[in-house]
Point group: C2
Chain length 249, copies 2
DNA sequence: TTAGTTAAGGTCAAAGTGACATTAACTAAG
DNA sequence: CTTAGTTAATGTCACTTTGACCTTAACTAA
């Protein structure tokens, strides 16, 4: 594997100070024809330079000297994908020696959930890896084909982000961030079915959600379906700890 | 506040690439005369240089070019405190612009739990801030006096580590790491009482612990008390995710 | 032998959970 | 206008889990 970047020699690059970078894993909910259910999708960018030129990678870039970590992640995300997430949560700092074949890079990775409306799923066709035109595309979060051919250690990063998502305790906050201000209980259930990848009893799920103190009913209903209009609810909780949900300045 | 370090000027230092450092928050259990219960203690080191010379700080240092993040944390810990924790878990990466008054520093912070035996609580007297001799000392994790006078943003870091500890889901693993291989159910209860800072019903706590699949009884008993000898138990669980418990190489 | 102490297990009412049935309120087909 | 289809919303019931408390077991020290 050739590289045009200096310090490709291991002994040499190890003497260089580590580079600091930030990357982001973004999840969004989307209809999935394959499973019939909603499922999780994430945007990736195609690398235009070595190493891993042409392969898919997480959006990210070097940490600017004037940005805090979370600001750098947000700025980079806007530039590369056009996405403006409302909040970012720190996932993990990856710093193994051999994670980049060129220079030593320590990546602070953030993750976020965005609503379907905020996520311009520009091209449905871009869900195929075969496409060679655009440099940003959305993929199913469990698309093995794509994950296994990612640049750097980004496959592990995405898998860890998924693990964290599935092990998030708070019911309401995830749904709220994927769905928006107001949502029906059935939509929340769809979120959980997508994340946990299993069906849930609608009646029991409703009972548990309503008892969870951080979800509150509104006076509005969602009309338009071919059935009784469901009531809309609102999320009233706040992040459990400031660092678990960083604001973007 | 004077400083002998270059780039003290804000405009200047912002052009410098960020420095990468690692620090560690270590918790250990210890008898506490004040509360009558066991409580959490942590080791701090006294700074011998500006900035914050003379104040207490978390053990830590710059990231060596040859070390992975977790190895750097472990090596630094050994050098500054003599402690060799069996595992480290990544807590958070702190990277705000103004967290160090001199150069821009991004700190990847780890945390760990160590058993009382592994923690050489050398000097009981060192629990007082007034002492001026040693450069390492142990303090109660809720000692406001000390926390409020810590160097850098280390007070917030410790508070976040405590929050994470209190919100850890797994019953068994925390106790196992603070106590060792074999332990009585009452010792586990003491751990929880110390961490959560409240009393728990011994009978109900026992019932719940025994039902938790990752704790298993042994054939041994702990003799020596002035009462019926309690049975010893063993932790059989494994970390929920590799990144949640990094091995030290 | 007895008092003191903690271990270990049991009881019982209250609360919570999972499986499933019933009624409510809309749309669309005839 | 009526009826079938669909999902919303609530209720029922057996079963499990929880919190408060009691009883008995097994040791030490006086």
């Amino acid at each position: 594997m050739l590289s045009q970047i200096p310090f490709a020699n291991v002994a040499e690059r190890r003497e260089q100070p580590p580079i600091l970078a930030v990357s982001t894993v973004i999840f969004s909910l989307r209809d999935d024809e394959r499973s019939g259910r909603k499922s999780l999708w994430l945007p990736l960018v195609r690398r235009t330079r070595d190493p891993y030129r042409g392969q898919w990678a997480l959006p990210g870039g070097p940490l600017g000297a004037r940005d805090s970590l979370v600001d750098a992640a947000a700025a980079n995300l806007r530039e590369t994908t056009g996405l403006i997430p409302r909040y970012l949560e720190q996932l993990y700092a990856f710093g193994d020696l051999e994670r980049s074949p060129t220079r030593r890079v320590v990546s602070v990775v953030y993750w976020a959930l965005v609503r379907e409306d905020d996520a311009p799923h520009t091209d449905t066709a871009a869900t195929s890896v075969l496409l060679d035109d655009p440099n940003v595309a959305w993929f199913r979060a469990d698309d093995e084909q794509v994950l296994q051919n990612m640049a750097f250690d980004h496959q592990q990063i995405i898998e860890y982000a998924l693990w964290r998502l599935r092990n998030k305790v708070e019911y309401g906050s995830i749904a709220h961030r994927l769905l928006g201000e107001r949502f029906t209980l059935a939509q929340v259930r769809e979120v959980y079915e997508a994340v946990l990848n299993k069906s849930l009893d609608p009646a029991n799920f409703r009972r548990q959600l309503r008892n969870a103190a951080d979800i509150e009913e509104t006076d509005e209903f969602l009309a338009g379906g071919k059935h009784r209009p469901p009531r809309l609810y609102r999320y009233t909780g706040s992040p459990t700890h400031p660092l678990e949900s960083e604001n973007i300045s």
